[in-house]
């Protein structure tokens, strides 16, 4: 049975698309047939982050409108043959997205895929609502920063009341916290909310902490999901997150400041 995961946050710029790309790649590398859908109609970017922007022929809206089949629109990843990308339309109005249309596409994908990731746009409008409406699990991407935490909480309220699971009285969407752009040294200095602070405020189980890392920008520059960067902490964090999501017990990393050889001697504060 396929599982639908929404990657959401409310606030923009916190790392939803980076997370969608990394986790979709991670699940596919584990051998699961995975599709990742861009719900940001008019402002698509998942294709860029995945590095397949020049291979887009048909998009999500074309499939909804019956102008292309799902197989024509799905882009097979060149690095992993278990991974497929469904790009958003760049030219259409966002009203082109309809609940029936989204349901039709998801139902068709569910027959063939094991995991379907829905990369939500920012905000709480149409695209964001449809991205989460049919979800089984929600990855709430949050930065340790007041506006992001508040918007995540708002999103949790919407997940709990306006999803299909909520409206039909099924078991609620399983929500997970992904704390991104985390800087242990700034937390230690008292200049950034800690992972425990955010967990406590949102009362969400933590799926993983993604440290602030320059490799995230470098990966997006190159169109390579950061999880493929073997040397980067952010990539390793996403690998852990995939393992944890699949039920493995992986200790949390990147939460504490790493003590260097000399840090004890030169610590000034």
């Amino acid at each position: 049975m396929a599982r639908i995961i929404v990657v959401t946050s409310g606030k923009g710029g916190v790392g939803k698309t980076t997370t969608s790309a990394a986790i979709a790649m991670g699940l596919a590398l584990k051998g699961f047939k995975t599709a990742v859908i861009d719900f940001d109609v008019g402002l698509r970017n998942l294709d860029l982050i995945m590095g397949c922007e020049r291979r887009v022929v048909y998009d999500f809206i074309n499939v909804i409108n019956g102008e292309a089949t799902l197989n024509q629109a799905l882009i097979k990843d060149k690095r992993c043959d278990k991974l497929y990308i469904l790009p958003a339309s760049q030219t259409r109005d966002k009203d082109a997205l309809t609940k029936d249309g989204v349901e039709k596409v998801l139902t068709e994908l569910k027959r063939d895929f094991e995991y379907i990731l829905c990369d939500s746009p920012a905000g709480i409008e149409r695209g964001a609502n449809f991205a989460m409406y049919f979800a089984d699990d929600a990855f709430v991407v949050t930065n340790p920063e007041v506006a992001s935490v508040r918007d995540s909480d708002r999103m949790l309220g919407i997940l709990a009341s306006k999803s299909q699971r909520a409206e039909t009285g099924q078991e609620p969407i399983k929500e997970f916290l992904l704390l991104s752009r985390y800087s242990p040294s700034r937390v230690k200095d008292g200049g950034m909310l800690s992972v425990d602070d955010v967990k406590e405020i949102l009362s969400l189980p933590l799926l993983g902490v993604i440290p602030e890392s320059k490799s995230v920008l470098e990966a997006s520059n190159a169109g390579v999901p950061v999880i493929l960067d073997e040397k980067s902490n952010a990539g390793a964090a996403y690998k852990d997150i995939v393992d944890r999501y699949l039920g493995e017990e992986v200790p949390h990393r990147f939460i504490k400041v790493k003590r260097g050889l000399f840090s004890g001697l030169f610590r000034s504060k």
């Binding site: 508040r150 009341s161 008292g190 200049g191 909310l193 602070d197 406590e200 405020i201 504060k269």
Partner: protein, 87 residues
């Protein structure tokens, strides 16, 4: 903990201020959210049950949810019509 930290302890860090502000805000926004979502429906369903036994209209039933720090009180107030007691 160094001596410097000891003096610093008197002034909360910006992260501590952020946490406190968020806790207050989130608690407030959650309470208004939960009231909006189920209170009207609860009132409607209670009214339907009460109407099975008494001839009352919507105006004679009031439902209020009050929230204190550690408890919630659901207050239900029904004004029964006089002649109904003989039913």
């Amino acid at each position: 903990m160094s001596l410097l930290d000891y003096f610093r302890a008197s002034k909360p860090t910006s992260a501590a201020i952020a946490k406190e502000r968020l806790q207050i805000l989130v608690a407030h926004e959650r309470s208004s959210r939960s009231q909006l979502s189920y209170l009207p429906k609860l009132k409607q369903e209670l009214l339907a049950v009460i109407q099975k036994y008494f001839n009352v209209d919507e105006k004679s039933v009031s439902v209020n949810l009050e929230q204190d720090d550690d408890r919630e009180t659901l207050e239900l107030n029904i004004v029964l019509p006089d002649d109904e007691l003989t039913k």
